[in-house]
Amino acid sequence: MAAPTPPTDAELDTYIKIRYALIGIDLSTLPEEDPAAPMDQARVMANARSTVRQEVQYSDYVPDQQAHAAVLYPAPFAVWTGEYKP
């Protein structure tokens, strides 16, 4: 099966702005584009697009499904239940 077409910048912008709107983030207090300003909307959007694309790359990491947190013997559960008192 062919891989889906990667989204365009414009499609990502729509996604990002909807996410901001859903969570209650308003970028309008920033200038739209002003390189002299400490931050502007254009830079926020460019950074967000990069982050979203990078997030997808996390999928390339496949942890060992059998890996588990080291557990001391007796297990912490035995401490929680009071069965074992260190």
């Binding site: 983030i25 207090t29 996390y58 060992d64 001391l72 260190p86």
Partner: protein, 577 residues
């Protein structure tokens, strides 16, 4: 991707042959005969630490507390380390440098405490010396955001009584990073997000330092919300590096940069910082200091403006290993207000660990120690750094360390790179982001982007951290006791110490600047780190160098670069959080 580990019969990773498991003791390389105790990193079960950190990371997601009874350290039962609890016996310098007595701002904590105790100096004398420097140079250094009045500081110094119950911090002047809560005193983390915030209580660290007798010179400037160099919301840099006071372009580093400038510029004797990704070790390296980032949970984060739940650490920026030990000794240990500190092994005698140990009349490392270095430590060094690194290894060998190249385990880059802070900072600051994103200024993207992290990727990040910690414990610290590494240990809670090892030249300003390096250890390896650096500092003098004084404000025209300087838009604060 998997990480293969030897398994013991219980299914947990078995400790390598030369590394400590549950209650085991390293064999094969005996400690010097006159030193029978072992450092705490050998007394603590590393599987317990893996389990503990996994619980902390899980708690970050679940919003539950990690308490003392849930995962109490097995070492609690028997103690560990070089002797339980604070003991200040070795904290007082046997000899005090003459130059330091002539200019008390030169004194280390250890020297000043000894001078107080022997009646050679009064706390008020020390304070007057600092206030004199502040009056002349703080306008240039801009190390502090807030200070008590001179009258208040002098009165505090006059109130100090030095007696047999005093700690070595009694009457010592400290700089505290502005993200530590201070009751009734503005605490802003140098960000508009916290503008006008005046805490109603002290952070645990600040309270403990006050109780130990330290006098806070002021709230130190810092990278806004603990990232990068100190700067105003419009990006204008404020604090200078104490080594280049006449040229603001060379960064003081961050985010604990104000503290570093205060300590290096002799506006305070020692200070506090926080580290999420290099914020203690990086400014320490940039300003010729010894900075100690302890094991996660060793010191309380209660009352410190958070950046993350899982990888923030408080720690000292000091002038040498002994001062770092005195500082951490004064504020480390369990705090019922921070469950991440509960159930830990007891704080060992860090001062003793940092005391210079001699064998045959020569300084030697206190415990038999193998110093590991990665393959690129020498091969990846440039022409300036390479001789420093070779000299460092030679000096470490001279004080009795075994020095050994350790290959990076497979997947080192992948696993260390996956341990980012994205998501956690968003979580902490979402209410402020909703209020007004412009409050975050140039740091905004770093705080916003966490909302694009999916839950499956966050889980992957936590799993990667776990795998990375396991990798480090089983494939690095099975071969050495300390490892020359960097900020990759922040995400997995392991202790780090930064210390100076030479001088270089900054390529932008052409000015001579200090160079430092960072040494990491397994869980609760603070004693080991202090012992190695104390021995190294006993045979070298890098830590004793002091920067030039600034050109006085009246002659500002003579300064190399004094115009308002904006941090470049491509400034990367990745390793300075």
């Amino acid at each position: 991707m998997t990480v293969d580990l030897p398994q013991d019969s219980a299914g947990s990773p078995a400790p390598p042959a030369s590394a400590p498991g549950a209650g085991s003791v390293r064999a094969g390389r005996p400690a010097p005969s006159s030193e029978s105790s072992q450092p705490q990193d050998l007394a603590v079960d590393r599987r317990w630490f893996l389990s503990r950190m996994a619980a902390v990371w899980a708690a970050a997601g679940a919003g539950v507390a990690v308490g003392g009874t849930v995962l109490a350290s097995p070492a609690m039962a028997t103690g560990g380390g070089s002797g339980g609890g604070p003991s200040w016996a070795g904290a007082y310098a046997r000899t005090i440098r003459r130059a330091a007595l002539e200019d008390p701002t030169e004194l280390t904590v250890s020297e000043a405490a000894a001078a107080f105790r022997r009646g050679k100096l009064r706390p008020v004398d020390l304070m007057e010396a600092y206030l004199d420097r502040l009056g002349r140079y703080e306008e240039i250094y801009k190390a502090f955001l807030w200070r008590p009045t001179n009258a208040q500081l002098l009165a505090a110094a006059r109130r100090v009584r030095i007696d047999s119950r005093s700690t070595p911090l009694a009457g010592i002047v400290t700089a505290e990073k502005d993200n530590y809560y201070t009751k009734g005193i503005p605490t802003t983390a140098m960000s508009p997000v916290y503008a006008g915030f005046v805490p109603e209580y002290d952070s645990t660290v600040h309270a403990r330092m006050k109780a130990a007798g330290a006098i806070m010179m002021g709230k130190a400037a810092m990278g806004p919300l603990a990232s990068g160099r100190a700067r105003l919301p419009d990006g204008t840099a404020t604090t200078v590096n104490a080594w280049t006071p006449d040229d603001i372009r060379y960064s003081p580093s961050g985010s604990s940069g104000g503290t570093a400038t205060a300590v290096a510029g002799r506006l305070s004797t020692s200070g506090t910082g926080t580290q999420t990704g290099g914020s203690i070790t990086s400014p320490s390296q940039a300003q010729n200091l010894t900075g100690l980032k302890p094991t996660f949970g060793r010191a309380s984060l209660y009352g410190i403006v958070p950046l993350t739940f899982t990888r923030d650490h408080p720690g000292p920026l000091a002038r040498d290993a002994m001062d770092a030990a005195i500082m951490l000794q004064s504020f480390a240990g369990p705090d019922r207000n921070d469950p991440r500190t509960l159930g830990m092994p007891p704080v060992p005698n860090l001062v003793k660990a940092a005391s210079v140990y001699t064998h045959g009349g020569k300084p030697k490392v206190r415990w038999a120690t193998t110093v590991g270095y990665p393959p690129d430590f020498l091969t990846g060094a440039n022409a300036e750094i390479l001789p420093m690194r070779q000299s460092l290894l030679d000096a470490l060998a001279k004080v009795g360390c075994r020095v050994k190249e350790i290959p990076y385990p497979a997947d080192w880059d992948l696993l260390s790179g996956l341990s980012s802070t994205a998501g956690e900072a968003t979580n902490m600051f979402l209410p402020f982001l909703r209020k007004d994103v412009s409050l975050f200024s140039d740091r905004l993207p770093g705080f916003l982007n966490g909302m694009f992290r999916s839950s499956d990727n966050y889980m992957k990040m936590l799993q990667a951290r776990y795998q990375f910690l396991r990798l480090v414990l089983d494939q690095i610290f099975d071969k050495c006791d300390v490892f020359l590494t960097g900020t990759v240990f922040d995400g997995i809670g392991l202790p780090l110490i930064a210390f100076p090892y030479g001088m270089g030249v900054d390529t932008t300003t052409g000015l001579p600047v200090p160079r430092g390096t960072t040494l990491g250890a397994p869980p609760f390896g603070e004693e080991r780190l202090l012992a190695v650096v104390a021995a190294y500092q006993a045979v070298t003098d890098h830590h004793l160098r002091r920067p030039p004084d600034p050109t006085p404000p009246a002659a500002a025209g003579a300064r190399a670069f004094s115009a308002p300087y904006k941090v470049p838009s491509d400034y990367d604060a990745t390793d300075e959080t």
